[in-house]
Chain length 375, copies 2
């Protein structure tokens, strides 16, 4: 198998954006192509979770290829709910690893803030098991259920979940691409409006617009995709044996470490899918970055803060950088790429190996990716 | 690059079906897995063009994996409008060729007949350029434009386009999986209701439900994917230099022949994307199977009929086997697989090499695949 490298990385500022989705994707794609020094990639992979319902347009592979002036370049769209961005990176990785293409542009994005929140919630909710949805289940409701179960069986505390939010807002304050740049206090988080018991507003990521892009290549560059792994789990949450760990993340992490030939011990920075802040704590343990039962304590002790033993979500995470669905998984890798190259101005972490973890649906389709710098 | 083989093939009967989309996909997938003698593939790739709007459900990778009892198996969804099925085969091909997986189940399908036709047309129409859609453009309208242009500049006749329909209905009459089993006369085609001048009802494929599946593998089997190629073109039809050939097919065919190491001269049977019957004639020339300007004559002369020099669409094609969007590209390969293995009972063609051609959108994202039997 050919080694696969990241030649270019780019993203838009996340947040409320007036541009349409093709324009957001184009902004990110052109930034990545410019960074790569490549004008015309051999192929294009587009990630969008549900552009038809969010934007009224479809055929996004061809739409974005045309928007980029690359209409003759073969283009695929890949989707795995909220982890679609990484799934697209995987498709590009496989094409390059198989020798089918030399360079592939991956671009993902979502545009949602122009719609009323209940409509956004309905569209995102299509990734929940149909039977469970007949009871009015939403993503925050399921996340609340999981948080409550973790409080009960694993001793997770509200203070720990809240500290994740404080930390990630702190980080985002230093990231010009972040949706939120304001710091928040522990008290503000714990006193924010209840969304789905025990989760409050500041435990939940916002609805964001944005795009992110990578160029992957068979040519040697500084940052290598050392491992990429995917894991699945039942779309029906009620069929799971344990609500408080995500088997899909554990499987994905094992696959990524196996491909990379190293384990969690070499990871020095990570981007974790904190769509709801308890998910950061669960995911730190599922990926083996923190021993079982220790993620809450590690967070309160500042181990996962900037300057700590293992900085988590230097970008601000989904919580504060924002979560434009299919852009998110790619934006995690953009951040890691910048961190590993030493160009994450204002929020630089010393690291040679970074890990990104992305959750699709309610942890039905998760990914772990390992990037490594070779100097 | 590892050779990639087809281990199993299966499909549902196409037509008006009462089952929901997951059940149709499961029927096809289980047929393919049984044919392959594989219970648990390493990965799953799902193709559906727009299941969110057609069926109200999303997260189809995880949904179908769970439906199949394969919820722990990594699952992707791939989409390229109406060619999504082949795009999913390509994603599986790349994974196997790269050595990332040994066996991958590909399943595609669509469920549309439960919706009113104008709603189906609206959903399919999202694959048309947004600007062109503001003028009320639909797929049949664009196909009519192209047919008229071909009549004007290439001498294509209504009789030729109509004979494609007669031939494909003849073939479907022998295919138990086909939507339509009735033969039609040339007169009936030419006198059928006008849809989009010059196209009449019997020049257009129906709205069909159905599923189709393949298992691809790195293990040697009888049928090999010898080549697979993709081509793109502007989503905006107004930007094309020529309306009467599809550059995306030409590019895809060149890529597929290059990968296979042989050309059109070795192809003995083909499945062609005849969503509108003039597209069969255009595509025969774009793939090099018939010399430029000769496809109409060849059709009238019976060269492309069963027993002719080069049987085209022994399955009945999109016109008569039916066109459940993301199932279609896979079903073409299922048919070719059966033909090459010699198990296409009642409609068997003698062939060692087959070609499938699939059109995404209004020829914005096309594919050509070559299968070869190795005895």
């Amino acid at each position: 198998v050919t080694d696969v490298w990241i030649a270019g990385a780019g993203m838009t500022r996340f947040g409320r954006r007036d541009e349409n989705l093709p324009d957001l994707m184009a902004e990110a794609a052109l930034a990545a192509l410019t960074d790569a020094g490549i004008e015309r990639p051999d192929a294009l992979v587009v990630a969008a979770m549900n552009p038809e319902e969010f934007t009224g347009e479809g055929n996004y592979g061809s739409l974005i290829a045309t928007r980029l002036g690359l209409s003759l370049v073969p283009a695929l769209r890949v989707e795995t709910a909220t982890s679609s961005g990484v799934a697209a990176v995987y498709a590009a990785f496989a094409s390059v690893a198989a020798g089918l293409h030399r360079s592939v542009l991956v671009v993902g994005g979502e545009k949602m803030t122009h719609l009323p929140t209940p409509r956004v919630s309905e569209i995102i909710g299509r990734s929940i098991d149909p039977h469970e949805r007949t009871y009015g289940t939403t993503m925050p409701a399921l996340a609340g259920l999981i948080a409550r179960a973790a409080m009960h069986s694993r001793g997770l505390t509200l203070r720990e979940m809240s500290q994740v939010s404080v930390k990630n807002h702190d980080n985002a304050a230093r990231n010009p691409f972040a949706h939120f740049r304001e710091r928040v206090t522990l008290e503000a988080v714990m006193e924010s409006r209840l969304v789905a018991d025990p989760l409050r507003l500041y435990h939940c990521c916002p609805i964001s617009d944005g795009g992110a892009a990578l160029v992957v290549t068979a040519e040697r560059r500084s940052v290598r995709i050392a491992g990429i792994g995917q894991g699945g789990d039942s779309i029906a949450v009620r069929y799971r044996t344990d609500l408080t760990t995500f088997r899909a993340t554990q499987t994905a992490a094992q696959a990524a470490y196996r491909m990379a030939g190293f384990g969690a011990e070499r990871v020095e920075v990570a981007e974790i899918h904190d769509a709801f802040t308890p998910f950061e704590l669960i995911s730190l343990e599922d990926t083996g970055l923190v021993p079982p039962g220790k993620a809450g304590r590690a967070t309160l002790d500042g181990e996962t803060a900037m300057g700590g033993r293992l900085p988590i979500n230097p970008s601000g995470g989904l919580k504060a950088r924002g979560h434009p669905l299919a852009a998110t998984g790619i934006s995690q890798l953009v951040e890691l790429c910048w961190q590993l190259r030493g160009t994450a101005t204002g929020r630089q972490v010393p690291a040679r190996v970074g890990l990104a973890q992305s959750i699709g649906g309610l942890a039905t389709n998760n990914w772990v990716t390992l990037l490594e710098v070779r100097r």
